[in-house]
Symmetry: C2
Subunit: 244 residues, 2 copies
Amino acid sequence: MIIGLIGFGKVSQNLFKLIKSEEIKFITSFENRSSKTIENIKKANIEVRDTFKEVAAESDILISATSPKTALGIAEKYGKYAKGIYLDLNNISPKTVLKINSHVESLIDGAIIGKIDSKSPVLYLSGKKADELLFLNEFITAKKISGNVGDAAILKMLRSSYTKTVSALLIESWEIARTHDLEEEFFDTLALTEGSDFKEKSISRIENTLNSSQRKSEELEEIIDCFDENDLTMVKAALEKLNR
Amino acid sequence: MIIGLIGFGKVSQNLFKLIKSEEIKFITSFENRSSKTIENIKKANIEVRDTFKEVAAESDILISATSPKTALGIAEKYGKYAKGIYLDLNNISPKTVLKINSHVESLIDGAIIGKIDSKSPVLYLSGKKADELLFLNEFITAKKISGNVGDAAILKMLRSSYTKTVSALLIESWEIARTHDLEEEFFDTLALTEGSDFKEKSISRIENTLNSSQRKSEELEEIIDCFDENDLTMVKAALEKLNR
């Protein structure tokens, strides 16, 4: 089996490390790559083709793992050459998944939950041929959601809407706690029901959110746009909170 | 040492069970009590005085554990007879604590976090003489917050504002998940970071909130009134969500 990689960032590098089998060969290309990426590909000792068009045509599974902004362009350019499965692992919206689907024969939409460089990333998959990727369970945890492309992207967004709104709530609670000089006690009393790591996890969420509130706001706007048929009182309040 | 009990509901009954010492005597009264309460007191084999006035005058620690609505009236009626510590364990607002303080010589404001009938309830204490109650650590977990009466009530409200708002968020996320037929996956992906009991805990919170949304709304209104000097975007959204 041949797995082709378009993009050789964190996701591809870690999948390459985790998926070790004599029956699987990885290929990629240096085409239009930065010198740093070329260096990383050389170090990894992956077979290299002249163009991504060749990579796409030769692969049983073509993995697109570049960036949310380039995902659609990659699909438009190389999707038509992919004979096997086209697995999109970019952090894209359900709408973008559907656009990509129009350029690709057998799209599978994948969402990595948890950090890809952790020991146990979980890969959620949706798409008609998602079953065909369950062999990956030999190397990582892979779960099929459904046959509908877009479901993995929706799931990722749903998870993100929860964690980002909790972060906004943590910022608000922490502000009130500070006003009353009860920060430590606030974390202590919640740790009793929310788990012993509540303080550590919460402070990390508060700091992360405050340090990149612009980006978090944009992600919340995308979530609101995506789920606009539902009541979004809480998510909209989170956006308002971050914009303050 | 004599501990006087005004109120013999769940809180008093459990404290009586947990605080077992040859040096501590509990007293209470049948005055104006229901036949059921009198039965419970008889079963517990507590010493009984004719009036709560006598109970108050004789106690080193007088515990008021009746109900939020009657807490202030109890303090107005019996506070002046309490020579020792007056420990209020009713689930009252910081404002009510301050009103009670004007009728009582040595008030300690107590907040029980976690269920009182669990094996390890934690009692948070605030008030000038809070140190004098730390001997209770022999029987339960007792923590002093500060010398300021009202801090325990504020802490309880702060904790409650967080958990109630999370519940409102859970209701919203669950609605979105249902729309996309991704309920199981929603709980699964969050369990990866929020703890393996996420689903069980969340469903219990959703059900609890939906089954008593009127009461939860009233409690949120009280929280908003209490913390009105802070930005309450998230808590106010939770109230709006529950009122829908």
